[in-house]
């Protein structure tokens, strides 16, 4: 299964779409937002807040891109080819999930590094650790949603659905513009999104607050929903062989 993860990661890193949307774009948007005074608060606060937003945005891009890959693989007959190797279906699914989880690391690392090196963000070590872990582990629900789409939909429509979902969640979740700037009705909706809870956990930690129970419960609930969806998509895809 390690071989499978290695092969998939190699493919991911050579995927121009992933590199642009998952790594380059979030870093560029981060630097533009923070250095053109488009981000809220004073300069250092803005650099921290937007760093978390853009790292979350990049991680979302990576997580959904991985799901689109599944649909592409199915269309290419690759999933069938894998079934003709000694790998078990469980190993293949687990390998793809691991690929998704590892594949978001460069997105998060790139934005955090830009924060440290360009915007001189400083945080106490334990806050750095908590932010990195939460940004990383919090991508699992999105990976599952992306995989569900990838299993359920055909190549082209899976990629479209994943990009649309990713952008909707990013914008509605307040990753581009803070939800504080939203009209109140939109803000009410935004605060139910998984992307808002996901980034919210790290926003609060970055500024020395404890994450709210609501954020943790909400993200866990979405994890459950998307997990069920991914299993449903996988079973459906299996029936079509």
């Amino acid at each position: 299964m390690l071989g499978y993860v290695r092969l998939e990661l190699t493919r991911t890193m050579r995927d121009g779409g992933y590199v642009i949307f998952g790594i380059v774009m979030p870093v560029v948007m981060y630097l533009v937002f923070t250095n053109l005074g488009l981000a809220p608060g004073d300069r250092h606060d803005a650099a921290i807040y937007t760093m978390v937003s853009m790292a979350a945005y990049g991680a979302l891009g990576g997580a959904f891109n991985n799901g689109s890959g599944i649909a592409e693989d199915r269309a290419a007959g690759w999933l069938r080819q894998l079934r003709l190797t000694p790998l078990t279906p469980a190993q293949v699914v687990a390998g793809k999930v691991v690929t998704g989880v590892v594949g978001v690391v460069p997105s998060i690392a790139a934005v955090l590094l830009a924060g440290v090196l360009v915007n001189h963000v400083t945080l106490p070590p334990q806050r750095w650790l908590a932010v990195v872990v939460l940004l990383w582990a919090g991508t699992v629900p999105f990976s599952l949603l992306g995989l569900g789409n990838g299993y359920r939909l055909s190549g082209q429509s899976a990629a479209m659905a994943n990009i649309a979902t990713m952008l909707t969640l990013a914008i509605l979740g307040g990753l581009w513009v803070p939800v504080e700037n939203f009209p109140s009705w939109l803000r009410a909706i935004a605060e139910w999104t998984p992307s808002n809870s996901y980034a919210g956990l790290s926003w609060r930690i970055a500024f020395g607050d404890v994450p709210t129970l609501r954020q943790a419960v909400l993200l866990s609930a979405w994890l459950l929903v998307f997990g069920v969806y991914a299993v449903y998509g996988y079973r459906r895809a299996g029936r079509r062989a």
Binding site: G3, R11, R83, T85
Partner: protein, 299 residues
């Protein structure tokens, strides 16, 4: 272990329906270890579905599929099987070497990569990206994926479809090498000469059933297509009643008798003193195939 004594491939009354169509209809087939078997049939005869059933890619609606006495999925998991589906199986953004190293790594005792590259004749492609290969090159890489685990059973669905004449010859040279190592090989093809030349045994499918099964010589014999012809001399209708003759045609002053027992036909012609300009032409497998699959003759 029971697997040691079992056939490499065994389908027992296997049936698979797609809606109202019976793609495979009560098919029974046993292939002992070490045989090279051609699966021959027109499009829609059920070749690919048969292969999907025996590889465990599709579950049969009824009946049973087994490889080496095991459930197909189990046999695949134990690395006993290498297969090349009719199409697909290649992914973008990896090199030939990376792809083959990965597939080999999933088997417990794979062939060395250099050996696989040599067998599939793709040594010069090892560092090329898989998505930048020509059709024939891609086909050889797909073939290499089926070989890399050094499996006992190799299943190939239309293996030479995208290859030119030279590449086909090279491909069959490689296959002969594998067959001589005792591998069991099952391939489907629509190139009848390939079935004729390269298979120990030819299984002809039609409408999801086995309609003929034997060596290519046996199949040709069974469909009575050896043509015995003599120069016509006066009234010739009686020739149609000679032993073995199933069909007669008079063309260009010659009588063409299609015989199921050419020896007997020739002897009878000789006894009747009718041997003038005798020609005996064994049928090609192609004629047999057409006859079988259009149902004009029965085996």
């Amino acid at each position: 272990m029971t697997a040691k004594s079992s056939d490499a491939v065994s389908l027992t009354s296997a049936t698979k329906r797609f809606g109202p169509v019976r793609a495979v209809d009560g098919l029974t087939l046993a292939i002992p270890r070490g045989q090279t078997v051609a699966l021959l049939g027109p499009n829609g005869a059920g070749k690919s579905t048969t292969i999907a059933l025996l590889l465990g890619l599709l579950p049969p609606d009824s009946g049973r599929a087994a490889l080496f006495g095991l459930d197909p999925e189990q046999a695949v998991r134990q690395g006993l099987v290498g297969a090349m589906p009719q199409e697909g199986g290649l992914i973008p953004r990896v090199t030939v070497r990376e792809l083959l190293a990965f597939v080999a790594g999933t088997y417990a005792a794979p062939l060395p990569l250099d050996r696989v590259l040599a067998l599939a004749r793709i040594g010069d492609l090892r560092d090329r990206r898989v998505d930048r290969l020509s059709g024939g090159q891609a086909q050889r890489v797909r073939f290499a994926m089926a070989l890399c685990g050094d499996p006992d059973l190799i299943v190939l669905d239309e293996p030479t479809a995208a290859l030119d004449v030279e590449a086909r010859r090279e491909f069959w040279d490689g296959m002969r090498g594998l067959a001589s190592q005792g591998k069991t090989i099952l391939f489907s093809t629509h190139y009848l000469d390939e079935a004729d030349e390269h298979a120990d045994r030819v299984v002809v499918l039609g409408h999801g059933q086995v309609i003929a099964d034997g060596t290519s010589a046996e199949i040709k014999r069974a469909v009575a297509l050896t043509t015995v012809s003599v120069t016509a001399d006066g009234e010739s209708a009686w020739l149609a009643t000679l032993p073995g003759v199933r069909h007669m045609e008079i063309r260009g002053g010659r009588v063409h008798l299609r015989s199921g027992d050419p020896d007997a036909t020739v002897m009878a012609l000789a006894r009747a003193g009718a041997v003038r300009g005798l020609e005996v032409v064994p049928a090609g497998l192609e004629d047999a195939f057409v006859a079988l699959t259009t149902g004009k003759e029965s085996v």
